[in-house]
Structures are given as structure tokens and as C-alpha cells.
């Protein structure tokens, strides 16, 4: 199987060129062949897939209405609920937690006849940038098995990059979709906050979390957004009104576009990454882009703000994991306090504990003004600075990260790991859509990504730019070489 372009597969299935059963057989064969090396999936829903394939083939034969995702296999990050299956969040704490309902995104995939292939690995509770914080499994980068796939949605990114799904769903709180997409050489969107329902997503930082699609190219991203970018009444922060509607590049930017670049903020970018970014800028110019220097130097505070607000929210979001109603309950516990203490002690990994402690601290009386409230104020300024930038440009172009995928164990110091998100957290803090597309490769072949950050609700506009970019370039077409480098 060469690639698993969602659009191509959907058309081939609808036109009868391939049956749903063949899609599933090929896919499962491919997963069996490669996933033992990559480790993208925590769970593959084999029997569900065959049942769904029979249903779809039968439906197509009798001429029933086929959904817009018919025939498209989805990999679901294991912090989103698929009814009847365990949602582990990559944590020991939840290895016995069976989801009692479908996340809205999963419901939408099923309603539109997509395949739910399985649940993919992640940093525990989506906290991490390399996928190394998973308590359950190691996931490797399909481009080079010695490298991390990026995180936290590393499993979904690896699954798509290794053609084990057409579309992967990730969640992005500070860069968790974009970083692994860039590390694995695929396209991905962190939509506008509220564009995709969070119902059924296990919360990390509720005001920052956003689910988004990861795929081979921007056509597939657009297809996924048409199914997923709808209002959901079960999520109070879901965008009201109109669903996601694609726009054409010609109509929107045919007369030119203003591309903002925060040059000052990018001064620390290493030389080889800078070279790739400059190439991207050159392409954007050729597409009719006028490059505008925008001042986003405020983003140097973004990471600090993110680690205060994000941890504050997660410290309460994870308080429900107490060993009382579900999840792990320590065998050692002899009284209520011990149930709390020992269950959480045994169930959570170091990074999760570190962040719970940090979040609890920044909200504590006596410290809240200095940390939490101060961070809220800076968040407000970041939002304002982006708004100011968008008065001068249609979208901002930035690298996704300072470098490419790194080897396992390379970032032992939590702070150096946190710095991986330096370019991505801004979009979360301001609730902005950010599209990641492959933008080149380093000399050793490792992919890099660029992100386009737009004003709220301009998801379709940056996707149209991404599509145009991919019509002119081939970066996204380069795949990990399964025979040679990648999986050898």
C-alpha cells in the first residue's frame, strides 16, 4: 500500500474500484506487518472493522447514501472515547476504564461512514512532546526508528506517516498535534478553539485543548474538517453557528495575500531550520504572498504563561482520578486519604505528577496573584498582539519547532522538552487555527514543518493556502522509506 490518501480512498470506494472489505484487509495486513516495530496503536478494533466493512459494502451495493468519510480509516488518539472500548490516556491509571459513550468526533466519523481503526499511543494524558511519557508503550518515528515521533499525539502521527490510517485524530493543548505532525512529515490542523467538539475528549487544559485531524495532505484535512467542524451542543465552548465550509484559494487569495512573519521571535532558530523556513517563505512569495514583518515578541512569554494556565486547569481536570469510582485503586490503601494518595501515586507518571503539583501551586492562595492571575493578563496581551498582527497580515507563518525529531532519551531535562513547544503554544493561548504542513527535510532526511496561524474561524482559509502550497511543492509526498532507512 503506497499511501492512504483519504480523498482518493473515499472516491475509489464510492466508485466501486475497491470494496470496504479490501480496504480493511489491506489496512490490517499493513498494521500487522509494521506496527510491531512502530508501536502506533494501543488497540486495533479488528472485528469492528470487518463488521463495518460488511455494512458499507452492503450499503453501497443497494445504493444507500454513503457518508462523506465512507471508506476512510481513522486512527483515534487514546484520550478520546470510543464507546465500549478502554480509553487509557496512555496512563496506568485508566487501563480498566471502558468508555460509556462515543466522543462527538467519533460519533461524527461513524455517522459519515468512516472506519475507526483503533486507539493510538500518546504521552500520558497528552502531557509531553515526544510520546516518551506514555506509561504503556513506546512509539517510534516511521522515518527513523531511533527517533521519537513527537508528542503528545505521537501514535496518530506515526500511524498516518506509516500508512496505517488515512487520518489520525490528535488533540493539541500546546502543540500536541503540530509537533508530531512535523516530526513525522505529515499535514495537520489545530483548529480554532471550539471548532471541533471536545465532548468525549479527556480534558487536559480545557481552555486550550482542541482536537484536530492529521493527514497525508491538506485535501484530507479539509475533508475531515467538513465532517468534524460542526457545532456540538454538548460542549459549551463549541463555536455557535455555521459549520466548517471550505474556501477556494483563488477566491480568497487569488489577488495576493499578506503573510506575517515574526522575524524577531525567530532569531534563535538554528541555521539548518532557518534555511528550510526561508525556502517556505520563497514558495509563499511565489504564490502571491507579500511578506510582512509582524511583532509577536510577546510570544517569548507564551511558554511560561502556558505552563501556568495549562497546569492550573489540568490539576483540577485530573482531580477526578481519585480511585473512588473508576480507574486504579491502590491495593495498599487502608483509608480514604490512602485511597487518594496511593492510587494517584501508583497511577500517574512523573510528568503528570510534576504538572499537577505545579498547577496546584500556581492556584494556591498567596501565589495565585503572582502566577495564575498574572499569566491570565499576559494571555490577554498575547491575544491582543495577535489581533494587531492580523491587521497587517492574513496569516502568520512560523516554524513548528526549532528542530526535527530527536533520538529517544535526548531531552531528559523537562525544561528542554518544554521548549519544543515554544512556537506552538501561542496559537493555543489565543485560540487560533494553526495548520502544519511538511516544508522540507534536513540533510539526514528528517522532515520539518511550517505552521500557518490565522485569525479565529479562518481555518478554511489557511487550509486553502496549504492546498495551494502542496500543489506547488512535493515535500508532503516524500514518505518514510519502509524498505531502506525507516524501518530497517
Amino acid at each position: 500500500m503506497e499511501t492512504l490518501s483519504a480523498c482518493t480512498l473515499h472516491h475509489r470506494f464510492v466508485s466501486g474500484a475497491i470494496s470496504a472489505k479490501e480496504i480493511v484487509q489491506n489496512l490490517l495486513h499493513h498494521i500487522k506487518q509494521y506496527d510491531s516495530k512502530i508501536g502506533a496503536y494501543l488497540l486495533v478494533l479488528e472485528s469492528d472493522l470487518y463488521a463495518q466493512a460488511d455494512y458499507l459494502d452492503e450499503k453501497r451495493q443497494r445504493g444507500g447514501r454513503l457518508g462523506i468519510l465512507a471508506g476512510v480509516p481513522f486512527a483515534i488518539k487514546d484520550n478520546m472515547h470510543v464507546k465500549g472500548h478502554i480509553t487509557t490516556c496512555g496512563s496506568k491509571f485508566l487501563t480498566n476504564f471502558v468508555a460509556p459513550f462515543d466522543a462527538t468526533v467519533v460519533r461524527r466519523i461513524k455517522e459519515e461512514d468512516g472506519f475507526v481503526v483503533g486507539k493510538t499511543n500518546l504521552d500520558e494524558f497528552a502531557m509531553g512532546s515526544s510520546c516518551e511519557n506514555s506509561a504503556l508503550q513506546v512509539t517510534r518515528n516511521p522515518w527513523n526508528l531511533d527517533l521519537v515521533p513527537g508528542g503528545s499525539s505521537g501514535g496518530s502521527a506515526a500511524a498516518v506517516a506509516a500508512s496505517m490510517a488515512s487520518i489520525g485524530l490528535g488533540s493539541d493543548t500546546g502543540g500536541s498535534i503540530r509537533l508530531p505532525a512535523a516530526f513525522c512529515g505529515i499535514s495537520a490542523l489545530k483548529p480554532t478553539y471550539g471548532r471541533i467538539s471536545r465532548f468525549g475528549l479527556v480534558a487536559f487544559g480545557s481552555s486550550l485543548d482542541q482536537i484536530g485531524p492529521m493527514a497525508y495532505d491538506c485535501d484530507d484535512i479539509e475533508l475531515a474538517m467538513q465532517a468534524l467542524g460542526v457545532h456540538c451542543e454538548r460542549d459549551s465552548t463549541s463555536l455557535p453557528g455555521e459549520s466548517f465550509v471550505p474556501v477556494s484559494f483563488e477566491a480568497k487569495f487569488g489577488q495576493g495575500m499578506r503573510v506575517g512573519v515574526p522575524w524577531q521571535f525567530l532569531e534563535a532558530l538554528p541555521l539548518e531550520s532557518r534555511k528550510v523556513f526561508d525556502e517556505t517563505i520563497a514558495h509563499l512569495k511565489e504564490m502571491g504572498g507579500h511578506i510582512v514583518d509582524v511583532d509577536l515578541s510577546i510570544l517569548k512569554y507564551a511558554l511560561a504563561v502556558y505552563y501556568i494556565l495549562g497546569t492550573a486547569e489540568l490539576s483540577t481536570n485530573l482531580a477526578r482520578f481519585d480511585g473512588i469510582r473508576y480507574g486504579l485503586r491502590s491495593e495498599r490503601a487502608g483509608n480514604l486519604d490512602e485511597v487518594y494518595d496511593f492510587s494517584r501515586e501508583e497511577g500517574f507518571g512523573d510528568e503528570v505528577k510534576r504538572r499537577i503539583l505545579l498547577g496546584t501551586f500556581v492556584l494556591s492562595s498567596g501565589y495565585q496573584d503572582a502566577y495564575y492571575k498574572q499569566a491570565q493578563k499576559v494571555r490577554r496581551i498575547i491575544i491582543d498582539k495577535f489581533a494587531e498582527a492580523f491587521r497587517a497580515c492574513d496569516f502568520v507563518a512560523m516554524p513548528v519547532s526549532t528542530g526535527a525529531a530527536f533520538p529517544f532519551g535526548a531531552k531528559k531535562d523537562p525544561l528542554s522538552m518544554y521548549l519544543e513547544d515554544i512556537y506552538t503554544v501561542g496559537a493555543n493561548l489565543a485560540g487560533l487555527p494553526a495548520l502544519t504542513i511538511p516544508s522540507g527535510h534536513l540533510e539526514d532526511g528528517r522532515p520539518l514543518g511550517v505552521q500557518l496561524v490565522a485569525p479565529q474561524r479562518h481555518d478554511a482559509e489557511i487550509i486553502s493556502v496549504g492546498k495551494q502550497f502542496q500543489q506547488r511543492t512535493n515535500y508532503h509526498k516524500r514518505r518514510p522509506n519502509f524498505q531502506r532507512g525507516g524501518l530497517s
Binding site: 479527556v202 487544559g205 459549551s236 482531580a319 477526578r320 473512588i324 495564575y372
Partner: protein, 487 residues
Amino acid sequence: MNHKWDVIIGLEIHAQLNTKSKLFSGDANRFGDEPNVNISALTVGLPGSLPVLNKEAVRKAIRFGLATQGQVQLWSRFDRKSYFYPDCPRNYQITQYEFPIVRGGHVVALVDGNEKAFSIHCVQLEDDAGMLKHFSSFAGVDFNRAGVPLIEIVSKPCMSSAKEAVAYAMAVRSILEYLDVSDCNMEEGSLRFDVNVSVRPQGETAFRNKIEIKNMNSFSNLEQAVAHEIERQIALYEQNPNEDPGQIVPQATFRWDPQLGKTVLMRTKENAEDYRYFPEPDLLPLVLQQEEIDAEQERLPELPLEKERRFVREFGLSAQQSCFFTMDRRTADYFEQVVEHCSYPKLVANWLAVEFTGRLKDQGKMIWNSGILPVHIAELIGMIQEKRITGKMAKTIADDMVANPGLSPRKIVEQTAAYRPFQDLEQLQVIVQEVVREHPEVVQEVLAGRDRKFAYLVGQVMKRTQGSALPDDVNRLLRTAIECAQY
């Protein structure tokens, strides 16, 4: 040394709203079901669940704010309040800490027959916790109550006695019931009180430490707890006149133990919880339109205070009597239904407040749920006024009405010989003649114009007829007999 003491009391009233569903989920808001049936993913805090605000609960909070002349806020917000306890499924409560839905307002209550206004600080919307049930070797949690909408009505520290605290609390309950905002069922815990009490010597301006007593669910507990706490604090200060008051009564939280008849320490200030409030990110700020608030204002019913004043004005009741009826909307409605059929409102008030309420007390019933029809009360009073029955008979008929609710007093009278008045006029004439003959000097006094003495003679006749003679008949025959005696 014997100071006079000022007492400062503030009250937090938690009222469960009588909405169909919970504050943030579609689960039923219903008391008394089997444990853990009205629960869904959100109610038990499953990961991936999200709160969606119940608009009906918001509407009810607005109604209470308007009814107490508070400022309903066009912009308010929910906050997370963190604490670990098994009855709290997410281990944080969703409440309104910094930006409550209503600010200010006041409640007028009758204290010793005088109207007194008490100030409200704010009203917050929040969700209730579940309930812990302890068994011999383990404890269980019932989450049916978890997520039930509450309003927390926070008063200013504006009360100065246990009596005032109770008067205020009862007035709040009346308003909640009138508005159909809460069922205020005390036994079911739909109305609960936390109270803050401090005392200081008269003349001292700074507040001394306050003691919080939590979670009382009856007016009598509230009254006893406050009275007990006032006494305790004063005694402590008086026993230690030279010590630092801050050390004598350290700030702390107690609960009231009704069995022991005293407060029991829960925690001191040093061990106070840090709730780490911060804005609830899963909910948008609550933004209201002035039009929806105005529309709610239009829909407000007549409130207890207005009704109380109207009863005084329209029916000539005393303030206290009026308050007795208007405290409970159903009792007030009942009174008005009786008055519709009867043109003696003061008599109606007396009969309802004294005779019937007294008789129903043993059954634990109120007049409105006694089964007695309002029209039957009117009928009874009508018969008295028409002199068809005597007052004494009416009281025994009232007994029968309470024993057999639904039975018309006319029917009772028709069916029972004892209630038929003395109707043999010849016989009555004989008795009248006897009385006149036996009291010549009284008769002379009546003839001399001392009409007060006439009542004495009436009494004598009544005595001999065991009270069954109709006063009109007695009067008429007695007048004639006296006039005849002149000659």
C-alpha cells in the same frame, strides 16, 4: 465586669432549585429515588464529560434576585472550587465565586411584629454534592443529589439575634416558595443553612473572630445553634477578660449536633481548606440580556411582603395575623379562597389561625393540605353569622370537619340532632318566663336602661338550653318577656 454585647450574624442559605434536571446535565433532579439512578457521565465525573448550563436554573436564580430587589448581573461567571471528598465527583464544585449572578438586595421580615429589612450580599448559582452513607464496615456514595442546582444566598452580617436569623431565614423561604424557585422541603434537605456568628462589647468597632456553623436544615436547629454560640462566645470572653480576644475565640468552623445540643468543632483556621478558585474553563461566562431579565420581572407573582400588607389593608388583619397566612403561599391562597365565599375575613382569619390550625397540628397537617374545602369553612362561618348554630356548636362541628375532611358543615348539622338548635319556641318561651321570674331585680335594672344586664339574662337562658338556643330567638323572646314584666 459585665459588658453589654453586640451580636453579629450572617447567614448563607443553600436552596435547591426545583428544576426538572440538574444544573449541568439532563439527569433528573428528584429526591427519594433508589441510590445512583439519576446519574450520567457528568454527574459521576467521568472523564470526557462536559457541563452544559441549565437555563431553567438560571431563570430561577434571576427570579429570586428580582424578588429581593437585587442587581441581576448581565455578566457573571462560574468558578471551580477544589476539594477532595468522595461525594464530590470531579473533586471540584462548579460555583460562582468572583462574579455571582446577583449582587445586593434585601429581604423584609417581621421581628416581634415589626418589619425589619435584612441585606443580601450576593446570590450564587452552584451544583450540589452527592451524599455519603455509612454502613458498618464501609461507606457508599449516592450521586443522585450530585449536580442538583443550588442558589447560595449570602446575607450581609446584618442580624443581631437568633430570633432575627430565623425570621430572615423564614422570610427567604417564603419568597423561594412564592416564586416556585425551590420546594424548600426541610426534611429532604432542600434548604440548608450555614451561619457566621461573632460578638463584641458594645462600643467596640472592630469585628472579633467569627465562628461558622455549617449545614443546619431546620429553623429550630438554626435558632438553637445561634443562641448557643452567642452564649458560648460571651461566656468565654467574660471568663477571660484580660486575654487577647483573638486567642480566646479563634476563627473556626463548627457543626451543630442536635442530639448533644451543642456545636462540634470541624476545623480551625490553620486547617482551613485552600479551595484554589479559578474560572471554570468548560463554561462560557453567563451573559444575560436586559430584555430577558425584564420579562422575568413582568412574570413575578405577588410576593409575601406585598401580600402581607394587602391582607392588612384589605381584610383588616393585624400584621402578625397577616404574616401567619402569607408566610406560606398555599395558606394565603386558602385564606383568599375562603374569603371569596364569606364576607367576614377577620372571622375567617380567627377560625383558620386558631381553631383549625390547632386541630390540624396533631396530624402534622396544614389547612391547605387538610382536605377541608375552603367553601366549607365559609359555610361554617356563614351558619354562625346567620345564627343557625351557636359558637359552641361550631367548635364541635370543626372537630368533625377535621375528622372527616370533605364533609360539608351543613350536612353535619343536618345529620346530627345535637347540632340542631333549640327550635321548640314554646318550650323556649317557658324557659324565658322562668328566668325573668327568678331575676326580678335584674329585669328592673334592664328596664332602667342598663342594657349590659340583658346579656346576663341571655346567658341564663343559654345555660338552661345547653347553649343550643339560637341567640336571635332568645333575644326576641326575652325582650318581649321583659317588656311584659313592666306591667
